[in-house]
Symmetry: C2
Subunit: 437 residues, 2 copies
């Protein structure tokens, strides 16, 4: 056979540099790679392939890139909501983590998250948590693509009771998973500039530089954090990190809400990237990241869901919709964050933000076959004038019909093939019952 899989009979939203939309093309996949995208002609419809996927007139697009997650926390979905941040953290989330997060729960929580992400069209995620080895085991089993980092924090953490070992544990994780699978890229995740000392931050930076690892950090997430760092260091969080030489093109800043224009200049100069998690930031009332300013400054920005403890799902379609709408109303300008811009954030720009822009995030020959198909044969997606509009403003995770990662069909006709979803849900419900007690 010439190809492993061909996908046809759909509208291909390539998200290539010209944002080309091909009305009735064929994507040919071989050895996990997009071999070519051809325009449909009668004599090519019989293109030889082991597997043929009929998009049935739907939308074929790059798999979505979730640039900021804490996968095991799916087990805390809806455990506590609508509370002041410190009450939520100190009385609900931290105690639940201290009591219930272990190697087994991390594994099953991550499997649950992978099932949810794949079924809603996410093909790549960028995670940071504890017991990350067990996250990686789950991710590996699911077949999703991921950047994974063991968390670093200067407090006792699940699996790392002695914070003196936080860097060492993170490096061990990175070394262990460096060459296990082409789908898994190790990374290091420092929790924040207020929970990691300058010494810890610099050590993490040093290890990331030595090993060429993406270095993730929560930064300027709340006004309280901004004020705390300003008081302690007489610098903004971004200025403070920059003073430690923490920022370069391998640094991913999650949230980045409370940034001054001068901070944006620093991020631009250092070529660091940003992950905006709109829904979580809204739900926790953290603030609104100045995303239009980021884009105007030419920063690389991706979208993420954050954890389901503060979202409460991992649906990147909702994330796109809410991101577009929030910034329109916040700036009282309906032209900002148009559909194409938002799709790019959720695909190619997100891929760039986590260091994978050359291999995923768009449908182009030579790239990994990370592809999703939306079933548009539904009243809420009818009629269809402009696919980019439907993707952002009308579609939802459950509209995803088929999902391929590196050419492997992981979801087919809304059925998850790589994992036993029923079994995972049963296990998650068991753990949930214990947590609720």
């Amino acid at each position: 056979m010439k190809f492993d899989t061909i996908i046809h009979n759909g509208i291909i939203v390539t998200v290539n540099p010209d944002f080309e939309i091909i009305d009735d093309g064929i994507i040919c996949v071989k050895d996990g790679i997009i071999d070519r995208i051809i325009t449909k002609k009668p004599d090519q419809s019989g293109t030889e392939s082991k597997e043929v996927i009929d998009a049935k007139g739907g939308i074929i697009m790059p798999g979505l890139i979730n640039t900021h997650t804490h996968l095991p926390m799916t087990l805390f979905r809806g455990l506590a909501d609508d509370l002041p941040l410190l009450v939520w953290l100190n009385r609900h989330i931290f105690p639940a983590e201290a009591t219930h997060i272990n190697s087994e729960t991390v594994f099953y929580g991550s499997l649950l998250a992978c099932a949810e992400m794949l079924l809603s069209g996410t093909t790549t995620c960028c995670d940071g948590y504890f017991h990350e080895h067990d996250v990686a085991r789950a991710v590996h089993r699911s077949g999703i693509r991921a950047v994974l980092a063991q968390g670093v924090i200067d407090f006792p953490a699940p699996g790392v009771p002695d914070p003196v070992k936080n860097i060492e544990t993170a490096v061990q994780f990175a070394e262990q998973w460096q060459a296990v699978s082409p789908l898994i890229t190790p990374s290091i995740f420092c929790h924040s500039p207020y929970t990691c000392s300058d010494k810890t931050l610099m050590a993490a930076k040093n290890e990331s530089s030595k090993r060429n690892l993406l270095l993730q950090i929560h930064v300027a997430e709340t006004k309280t954090e901004l004020e705390q760092i300003q008081t302690g260091h007489n610098k903004t969080p971004v200025e403070y990190l920059d003073s430690l030489d923490f920022l370069d093109e391998r640094t991913l800043l999650a949230h980045a809400i409370w940034l001054y224009d001068e901070d944006i200049d620093i991020v631009q100069n250092r070529e660091s990237t940003i992950s905006v998690t709109t829904e979580s930031e809204m739900k926790l009332a953290s603030g609104i990241a100045p995303i239009s300013k980021f884009l105007k400054a030419g920063l690389t920005v991706g979208l993420g869901t954050d954890s389901t403890a503060s979202n409460n799902n991992l649906d990147m379609f909702q994330e796109m919709d809410m991101t577009a709408k929030l910034h329109k109303v916040n700036q009282l300008d309906p032209t900002v964050m148009d559909a194409k811009t938002v799709i790019k954030l959720a695909t190619i720009e997100g891929a760039k933000a986590i260091g994978l822009g050359s291999i995923t995030g768009s449908l182009e020959a030579g790239k990994q076959a990370d592809i999703i198909i939306l079933d548009t044969n539904a009243p809420h997606l009818t009629p269809l004038y402009h696919p980019e509009s439907h993707i952002v403003y009308a579609a939802q995770g459950p509209d995803v019909k088929d999902v391929l990662v590196a050419g492997e069909v992981l979801v087919r006709d809304r059925k998850l093939l790589s994992l036993d979803a029923e079994d995972i849900m049963a296990k998650a419900n068991e753990i949930g019952k214990i947590i609720l007690k």
Copy 2:
């Protein structure tokens, strides 16, 4: 048989005055009415009934109330987005309406909307448009509950080329549909205080009072409207309407974004009600309605989707999610608009806002059996700690499994029973092709 339908094996979120949640109860329906809700006991599980619906552990809740729609505009879903308001209206929406809105397109557009609403758990909508007779025909066929109004505007409109006849046409519609079906409640819809003269507004008010009809109007939707009315009348839009005696407990104010505290006092004194359409208001960048102030003042507030031309779907679950999150981040307070409050807006408060609070909007004995069941057996709804949290923050329209209106099962296992969805979509696609030209 003792009952027509019983629903069992689910978590019943009643939205009764105590917001009672019954973990494993049985809802017994007879003659379209909720006869009783009983707590499950072994000897009652065999309760005699013609039909038995197994909720399979899911969430059983009142059908959602969409308090502001323009159903035929589903045909314009995604036709134009991300444009300045006047460009969007004058170059896209108004020309499309002038050219393509007629008796037939209104009928099919409304069928499409009804299909979408029912499939996503909406059991009641409140509509205002033109050719409303054809909206009513579609609504009647679908089996959904609706408050329907022929639009009144002092310009030539589809089906009403001579605006002199706008009131007469609206009254004719109301008279014609007054007694056709217990599911259809006629109403009158004045477009706005800037597109209807004082004479028109007063005539509409007079007819609404005489016939006891809900009187709908868009009001204070944009800052431009506020300024225009202030310049023309030296009053805010609300003050202006009040000066015409337009406001009373039968008046529904749609949007109500640009209200001063004094306007809220007026609305409170007149006992008028409000429909907030969060997603549409965000997408059009109209502004953020002061919903917390409304609730503090004791106003009756419902949620609505507005039309799919500015949303771009009719999913009330998304509407709840976005409403909760928008106000949290806007007020930098995660405790505002908690899940229970938001559910009430989308159910019982919405029902009250459109005059149907005594018959629908909650699951209580004696009320109409307008009931939906959410399938929670999905990764994105696992685990389940608090059903109210899942309803607002994690669930989506496609999670709706079964829908009853007045006891009739209109959706069963995600299949629409009252309409032929495939046929409607085919027709809508045909019309869409003509519109796109």
